[in-house]
Every structure is written in structure tokens, then in C-alpha cells.
């Protein structure tokens, strides 16, 4: 029997805090009169989530540790991602209270589900064993199915929930089947054991003829591909994105920002841990499964489809849903760069900054949209938002900031994030150790992605133009709830902070890279000077190299 110590508990403290808060919210709900508004539950939720974020910042270890008998990895990646998903959860909770009241679905379970989903994401990114990964993923997913279908009386919400549920369950089945094949290597589900088996000198044996059943079908390879596809489904990356626009436009508006933002970054972080850990070859180049190529095609498809379809959408939420597919593509672009030894550290820093910027700005944008719903219908068509910028200057400005961030323009966080992402991808193309075709592909993808992100940016700018348009159809007499204002303020301040002073987040990203990448890669000159475009400010250059002294 494996015992556990207080150190084990400390490593999972943020997740424990979130789960306990969720249970407390459920208990508070029981002792609540039905007609009484649940605003205080929103505050409790936000407080607990912010506390979890603070705790995960404070306890971040200087050296990665393995807890719970090797099942949980306690390191900077888990802490950073937990912190940002928890902040997104807090923003969402604050922005939900008035919205839920107006739709008459104001119940405490909603907040408990938000907290449980965040806890699941935290467990998922800390996993060092496929059992823990699966449990965390499902803890988040089951809560998110319920959140999507939460608006019981709405036809839309139920249908969105069902589509999300069915595709999510399919993803889980693929994941488990994939894990089964990897378990077949040694009988163990641990990342370390599987990684060791895949890297063993005689590993080719498994790939040539694993069991004798189907001599031409290397089962571990199939397993890795299945796991990768499962994550593509969960992240709504093309070509497995078809559920996302429906699910995102049917879910209660505030939760959509949380599902599409926080859900994506938790998924991509778990993929980074897999591909930098058990699935990595010692020099990270290509990998046994050639997953760089897989990630490359998924990234291309997502960026192209997401940006182009977003341009054609009339409804704001559907537009944001489609462009979230594009954002999944950008995150996968960073995953491609991880496969190039010289750019690996840069890709991890870029993905941390990009994920943080996207999750926060997305949560903020959706709570503003939720606040300006009219007659219980969400502010959805462009028309219903027109004039927001003039009638409610602060809210209009905040929404513009979030959209600008998503479009990748200064001064918002999205600009620096896109800059570091594309420069990393471009630099990855220069990597000497890479196969030539891979390098060239990545450079073309970086250039093409940049062009397409301009196209996607137009979709956002069109919304901003409507906010400041001549006619005003927005709810003029409406005053946002103080909680909503607080949530929007938190999101706006963080988006500006990361946009103007990204150094801190990049340092955290550097620490994540140092703890995540194998030592052989660290020895290589991991720093690639970002090839900054001419008009770019020197924001990236001033960033100091990650140092061990910092807590994160």
C-alpha cells in the first residue's frame, strides 16, 4: 500500500481548494431560499478561485517533484496553468450572476460546476500517469457538459450540451483505447515507464511487430495517434471542431468564454507535458510517432478554417466560436515548434503567454456579451451590440480591448503573445537539427498563419466598428451588476498588464520550459532570438532569461 505525506497534499492544494469550495457552494445552496439571488455564491466562487490561483503561485516549486507515488507531477507548468484557469473561472463566476438571474436559472450548482471543472483542469495538467490524466480530463469534461446544457428550458442549450457530450464521450473512448495500446508496452500506465519503454534501445521491436496480430500495425504508434486525436476533439481543433460552434453558441454565454478559453489551454498544456515527456525522443526532433507532422496538419486546418469561417459569421458568439478554432490552431503551432530542439523552450514560453492571454480575454469578452443580453436573449447579433461603446463607454472599451487582444493587436496581451508565437515558429524553421522539410513547413506555416490572423482580425474589428457605430440598439437603461464590473475590470487589467509588461509571464514560461524539457535539450542553445518584425516594439528583447531564483 502506498502511503502519502503532507507534501503530496501540498502539491494538489489548488485543486483541493477548488473542490472544497465547490462542495461548500453546494452546501450553501441547500440552505438558501429559492427566491434569494445567488450573488454571494458568485463572490464565494470568485474568491475561492482567486485564492487557488494565488496558492498555486506561492507553492510553485523551484524543482519539479513527483508526488503520489509517481502519479502526479508537481511543477511550474501545472501551477501556471492552474493559476490562469482559476482566474478565468473567477472572471466567469463574477460575470454570471445577473445573467443567471435574468434567465431564471440562478442556482448554486452552476458555481459548483465551474469550480469542479477548474479543479479537473488543474489535476489534468499535473498528471504524470494516464489514470490521473483521464480522471482530471473527465472531471473537467463532465462538469462542462452540465454547464453547456445548464439552461434547461432552452432548446439551444440542451442541443448544444448533447453535441458537446457525444463528441466529448467519443474523445474519451479514443483516449482510453490509445492508452490501452501504450499500456501494452510494459503493463504500466505511468508516463515515466511508458516514456522509458518508448525510448529503450530495443523500442523498435514494439513498432515493428508488437504482438504478432497485425504485423504492419505498430500498436504504440496507433495509441499515440489516438491520444492525439482525442485531445484535438477536446480542444475543438480542426478537423474535429464541428461540435464547437454549436456547443459554444448554445451554452450560457458566460460559460462559453470559460469552456473555449480555459478548456483549450488546459488541453494544450497536457499535450505539451505528453510530448515533452513520455512521447519525446531525446532530442525532441520529430518524435517516434512523427507527431510534429500530425500537429502541423491539424494546426494548418484549424487556422485556415477558423479564421475564414469566422469572417462570414453574422452572430458575435458564433464568430467567437469559429475563431476559437483558429486559436486552437495557433496553440498547436507552438506544439509543432516544440518538436524542434532549438525552439522548444521558446515554444513553451509562447504557449504559456498565448494561452494566458486567450483564456483571460475570452472570459472577459463573453461576460460583457452576457451582460448586454436584451429581453433574456443574449446580445448576439451585431445589431444588438451597436452603440455599446458610446452608451456604456467603460464596458465598450473593455470589450474592444478583449477583441483587440484576440485579434492580436497592441496594446493588448494578444499582440505580444502572437508575436512570440510566430517568431518562435519561424525560428523553429531555422533549427539545424530538424529535417529540412519540417523546417520549411514551419516557416511557411508561420507566414501563412500571420496572414490568416489578419483575416481573422477583420472579423473582430467589424464588431468593434459596430460598438462605436452611429445607431444605438444596445440596452441603454441597463446598469451592469457590480460583480460583472469587477470581473470585467480584472480581465481588462490582466489583459493590459500582459500586453504592456509581458516579461513576468514570459519568465514563468521560461521556468516551465526549464522544468519540462529533458536535460539533453537544455544543454543545447535553447534560446532563439525572436525574429521580431520591423514595426514590433522591443517587448520580447527586454525579457530576461529565466532564472532559478524566481518562485514560478
Amino acid at each position: 500500500m502506498i502511503g502519502f505525506t503532507s507534501a503530496d497534499l501540498l502539491g494538489l492544494l489548488p485543486a483541493l481548494l477548488l473542490v472544497l469550495a465547490g462542495m461548500a457552494v453546494l452546501l450553501l445552496e441547500v440552505f438558501q431560499r429559492a427566491s434569494f439571488p445567488r450573488t454571494h455564491l458568485a463572490y464565494v466562487t470568485a474568491l475561492a478561485a482567486l485564492a487557488a490561483a494565488g496558492v498555486s503561485y506561492l507553492i510553485a516549486p523551484a524543482e519539479p517533484q513527483t508526488l503520489w507515488g509517481g502519479m502526479v507531477r508537481f511543477d511550474a507548468l501545472g501551477c501556471v496553468i492552474t493559476a490562469f484557469t482559476a482566474v478565468a473561472c473567477a472572471i466567469t463566476a463574477l460575470g454570471s450572476t445577473r445573467y443567471l438571474e435574468e434567465l431564471e436559472i440562478d442556482r448554486g450548482e452552476y458555481y459548483a460546476l465551474l469550480l469542479f471543472a477548474t479543479a479537473g483542469m488543474s489535476v489534468m495538467v499535473s498528471a504524470n500517469d494516464f489514470v490521473v490524466l483521464f480522471l482530471g480530463l473527465e472531471m473537467a469534461a463532465v462538469a462542462m457538459y452540465a454547464l453547456t446544457a445548464y439552461q434547461r428550458r432552452s432548446n439551444l442549450s440542451s442541443e448544444a450540451g448533447f453535441k458537446y457530450f457525444l463528441l466529448g464521450a467519443l474523445g474519451s473512448a479514443l483516449l482510453v483505447y490509445g492508452v490501452a495500446f501504450l499500456t501494452g508496452l510494459t503493463g504500466s500506465t505511468g508516463y515515466d515507464e511508458i516514456g522509458a519503454a518508448l525510448r529503450a534501445p530495443d523500442a523498435a521491436r514494439h513498432f515493428a511487430n508488437p504482438t504478432g496480430v497485425v504485423p504492419f500495425l505498430p500498436l504504440p504508434l496507433v495509441g499515440m495517434a489516438l491520444i492525439f486525436v482525442a485531445f484535438l476533439i477536446k480542444m475543438a481543433a480542426a478537423p474535429f471542431h464541428m461540435w464547437a460552434p454549436d456547443a459554444y453558441s448554445g451554452a450560457p454565454t458566460p460559460t462559453t468564454g470559460f469552456l473555449s478559453g480555459a478548456g483549450k489551454i488546459a488541453g494544450v498544456a497536457a499535450l505539451f507535458r505528453l510530448f515533452a515527456g513520455p512521447f519525446a525522443t531525446p532530442d525532441l526532433s520529430g518524435g517516434l510517432a512523427g507527431w510534429t507532422t500530425l500537429a502541423f496538419f491539424a494546426a494548418v486546418a484549424s487556422i485556415v478554417v477558423g479564421n475564414l469561417v469566422a469572417l462570414t459569421q453574422k452572430r458575435v458568439r458564433r464568430m467567437l466560436a469559429w475563431s476559437s478554432v483558429a486559436h486552437a490552431g495557433y496553440l498547436l503551432l507552438a506544439l509543432c515548434a516544440l518538436g524542434v530542439k532549438e525552439a522548444a523552450a521558446g515554444s513553451i514560453r509562447a504557449v504559456i503567454l498565448y494561452g494566458a492571454a486567450y483564456a483571460i480575454a475570452n472570459a472577459g469578452a463573453f461576460i460583457v456579451l452576457a451582460a448586454f443580453g436584451r429581453d433574456k436573449a443574449e446580445a448576439d447579433t451585431l445589431d444588438e451590440l451597436s452603440g455599446l461603446g458610446r452608451k456604456h463607454p467603460a464596458m465598450g472599451l473593455a470589450l474592444s480591448l478583449f477583441l483587440i487582444s484576440a485579434a492580436g493587436l497592441p496594446p493588448a496581451a494578444g499582440f505580444v503573445a502572437k508575436l512570440s508565437l510566430f517568431s518562435t515558429a519561424f525560428a523553429a524553421g531555422e533549427g539545424a537539427a530538424t529535417p529540412a522539410y519540417c523546417a520549411e513547413m514551419l516557416q511557411w506555416l508561420a507566414v501563412g498563419g500571420l496572414v490568416l490572423s489578419v483575416a481573422g482580425g477583420l472579423a473582430y474589428l467589424r464588431v468593434i466598428a459596430h460598438l462605436y457605430g452611429r445607431d444605438a440598439h444596445v440596452r441603454v437603461d441597463y446598469r451592469p451588476h457590480p460583480a460583472t464590473t469587477l470581473g470585467v475590470a480584472i480581465a481588462a487589467v490582466l489583459t493590459l498588464w500582459m500586453g504592456l509588461m509581458p516579461g513576468r509571464v514570459l519568465v514563468w514560461g521560461g521556468n516551465v520550459a526549464k522544468q519540462l524539457l529533458p536535460a539533453e535539450v537544455q544543454a543545447a542553445p535553447a534560446e532563439v532570438a525572436p525574429a521580431a518584425p520591423t514595426e514590433a516594439p522591443k517587448a520580447i528583447e527586454v525579457v530576461p532569461l529565466p532564472t532559478a531564483e524566481l518562485p514560478l
Binding site: V142, A149, E159, F162, F165, L170
Partner: protein, 101 residues
């Protein structure tokens, strides 16, 4: 002739394929859900077969977790389906089209 690992893997692959084909061809949402469950159980079978093959309990433990999670998923999924039936009086995926308009 005795049963070997290969037999279990082939059975699991067959079950997984049946589930996948059903997911594409069937129209009733409950049947679709059953197809996904068949796929999950196919994966469980493979896990347990490998676990027995290596004489390590990891895979069996994972299979238990999968069953527990599948039960939770079924709870959520059936609740959503009841809700859909209340709105539509139908459980055919062809009727799930509110987003088309």
C-alpha cells in the same frame, strides 16, 4: 487451442469498430450513446488483456476508473437526452437542427 492476448485484442478491435460504425450510421441519440459506451468497453477489454499479459494491475485499475467515469457520463448524458426529448418529442439526430436557422 488456448485463448491468447491476440484473441482479446482482436475482440476489442472488433467491438471498437462496431461502436465507431454505429456512431456514424445510427440516428437515435440513445443508440449513439450506446455506441460510444461499446467503444469505451472495447478499450477497457484491451486494457485488462494487456494488464493480465504483463501481470501488472495498472491496467485493471484504469479500467475501474473508466467504468466509474462512464457511469457519471451516462448520468449527465441521459439527463441531457431527457431534456432534448421534452423540447422536441423526438430523439432522432435529424431533429437536432436549431443551429441551422
Amino acid at each position: 487451442m488456448s485463448l491468447t492476448l491476440e484473441h482479446y485484442l482482436l475482440l476489442s478491435a472488433a467491438l471498437f469498430t462496431i461502436g465507431a460504425v454505429g456512431l456514424v450510421t445510427r440516428r437515435n441519440v440513445i443508440v449513439l450513446f450506446m455506441c460510444v459506451e461499446i467503444m469505451l468497453n472495447a478499450a477497457n477489454l484491451a486494457l485488462i488483456a494487456f494488464s493480465r499479459f504483463h501481470l501488472m494491475a495498472d491496467g485493471q485499475m484504469f479500467a475501474f476508473c473508466v467504468m466509474a467515469v462512464a457511469a457519471a457520463e451516462a448520468g449527465i448524458g441521459l439527463a441531457i437526452m431527457v431534456n432534448i426529448f421534452r423540447h422536441k418529442k423526438s430523439l432522432l439526430v435529424d431533429d437536432l437542427n436549431v443551429f441551422k436557422n
